[in-house]
Amino acid sequence: MSGTSVIGKESGLSRRSFLRVSATAAGGLIVSLYLDFPLVAQQKPSAKTYPPDAFVHIKPDGAIIIQVNRLEFGQGVQTALPAVLADEMDADWSRVVGELAPAADVYKDPVFGIQMVGGSGSIAHSFQQYRELGAKTRAMLVAAAAERWKVRPEQCRTEASLVHGPGGQSATYASLAEAAARMPVPETVPLKKPSEFRLIGKETRRLDSRAKCDGSVKFGLDLDLPGMKVALVAHPPVFGAWPKTVDDKQARSMPGVVDIFEIPTLAKGKAVAVVADKFWTAKQARDRLQIDWNFNGLDKPDTSQLSQDYKKLAATPGNVAVNRGDLKALDTSAASDRILAEYEFPFLAHTPMEPLNTTVRFDGDRAEVWAPSQFQTFDQMAIAEVLGLTPDRVVFHTEMAGGGFGRRAVPDSHVQREAAAIAKRLKGTPVKLVWTREDDVQGGYYRPMYVHRVEVAVGADGLPSAWRHVIVGQSIVAGTPFAAMLTKNGVDETVVEGVADTHYEIANFHVSAHQPTVNVPVLWWRSVGNTHTAFVMETVIDELAIRANSDPIAYRRKLLNSEAKNLIGVLDLMDQKSAAWRKNLVQGHAVGVACHECFGTSVACAVDVSIENQKPRIHRATVALDCGRAVNPLTVESQFQGGVSFGLSQIVPRGAITFKDGYVEQNNFDAYTPPYMADAPTAVDVHIVPSDAAPSGCGEPPVPVISPAVANALSRLTGKRYRSLPITTL
């Protein structure tokens, strides 16, 4: 099995790969794998001058430092990718450290061609890459040992950072590292058989737990550099506005205030930056600014108006995403054999726990950046552009991030542009830009607001005989570098995903989308289009099942097409694992189910729900999933337990961002409130379908199923359908 050719086949990209190996000044072996890709970004490969552009560093003391080519923000990749590499390398896991790699070509995502986390691709895209790196490193260490002992490499075996020879010899990886660095890099290496895995597929606890439990871990916001200043920004209250007049007398008079000045901000607006010695000084100074804003010519969004406009649009067909069969049945069937359902979804903020931040120091001909970033390549380019540098002059450190959920993957890098503009003015001084929670909640880049209009004709068999589906909402990718790749026939695929590619057998199916332009910056929010499309599909299917007097699991099984083997598999597993509690349901409780596939992973979910104090109480969720090979089942379990809680952000009563006259009406967690412990399921049991298939995503797939499952349970309790989110009244 050749690692390199296997990767090439899997992703369909032609590329060369080569290893660069060097002994370091401090001793030890450094292994880099360079991959050449058709670049998505415009950035030319920069000179590979940044020193740690390597994946494996075996230190003389036996520690093995593995570079992680993407951000760690909860998904567990800082543990999982080192485990994959260490497994193939036969490294001593107790000595392995995962480090977040800086921005560099070598760390670009093997599929996307830019350095990023998104699309649930951390493991899906880098599993094979890290296996191969581990196997090649091992082969070189074995070659070095074989040469030392004058034996053939095949006579040696490895285990826990040791090479054992045929005559009972053994040598540590650390002692072999320098010799290994001079060995030729093997073109191809055999990879382990699954039966030989020591870490892959095993429950491995996170490497970052201790530091995250004793306060020692440093997130981007915790950065402290000598002479560092803190910047806060007074953002325009309407996107794109700019200051008419700024009265900063009071603010400037405060001790500790360094400077106050205008900077460009998102949506082509202008903002006022306040730089001070400390956060609290900057905050107080910002509060004392008196700014008269200019709104001339700006569209002032208003969500109740948008709701009306969207509903009007939804009554007409949009750009066509799917046109299969015909919709005659909708015209010919009796009203009683039709469902007409109109759904509404609000804007949603991501609100990762760590507020947005970036630190930049500009030294004239170079810059250094510390950022918790999902998009290192774009953020580095944007900072370089603002500072008038080439990207290779911007040293970019990836900082640990307190969540993200898409919010740190912004194609226009607006936070980093602000940080760069501030650093440019304060040349030589490191400045940490902090977005307060208020900036974050009000700062745009929301999951767009959507309206769906669904008309279904129901056949005599209780199955849909025709289905017309219109979706109205902003495009996420329009105007970004992703537009070309993700727009087809004028339809942003992220708007219709989850409907257009449904696995339900609907012979007569028409899906179209309107994508109005609205003065609200929008963005992907964990699971992207599936947040709303799965809710619509899974609640309509539930309604159809009820009409057909059919068990909701049996109805889904019947309607799923023959290609949906994985979905049927997870439905079966969920059915089996939840059967006992579903049979013994407490009086006043109801079951809701949902299933969905996205990012290559199939998920089915059943929930046990009652109503307490006019609110849904979720006593239990049983989740079954098929993500191919589960590289770290413990992390998979955590992602699904946590992901269902995140998914409930959509239905909790204060889970909406609304606009009135251009202004966002919420500004912190008191008004935009994600689920607390009592809103989340009391218990979540997660069941993984055993699989040898290539691993698929686990970050986003947990999110879509939970809200429709809960809504379906509520419908059984109240007899009402829930079509407008969040659910404010039962």
């Binding site: 909860g74 809680s645 994600p674």
Partner: protein, 154 residues
Amino acid sequence: MQTYKLTVNGQAKEVTVDPSTPLLWVLREELKMTGTKYGCGISACGACTVHLAGIATRSCVVPISLVGDRAIVTIEGIGEDRVGRAVQDAWISEDVVQCGYCQSGQIMSAVALLKSIAKPNDANVEASMGGNLCRCGTYVRIRKAIMTASQRLA
């Protein structure tokens, strides 16, 4: 500006700051103890939870001028305490953390709970942990880790 004498994790500290400065920012920026987190600034998320005279307190809304001589314990010091150490260890063995940003506050709230109720039930846990937001949704593992710590301490 005013000078305040504080006791943080058993150590005497002195800071000179504006009296309105929240304890959170004194810890983070004056004492360089960044384990206590800023999440909202309005006591709505619990990421900034510390113990003030043994009581779980949102340090983002406590001005330094109101701290007085009450002892402050933060995530950096809670491991010195038997219950604190047990909670941290349970968090690790139950693999609770994801992004980890809220977990300092979660742990401080959990320790306060177990110090007042050694064997909490589900309702006790929800009451004590109910104001600590976790965006990653680690709640079910937090519940389990609290029970694990409680059992180990018994």
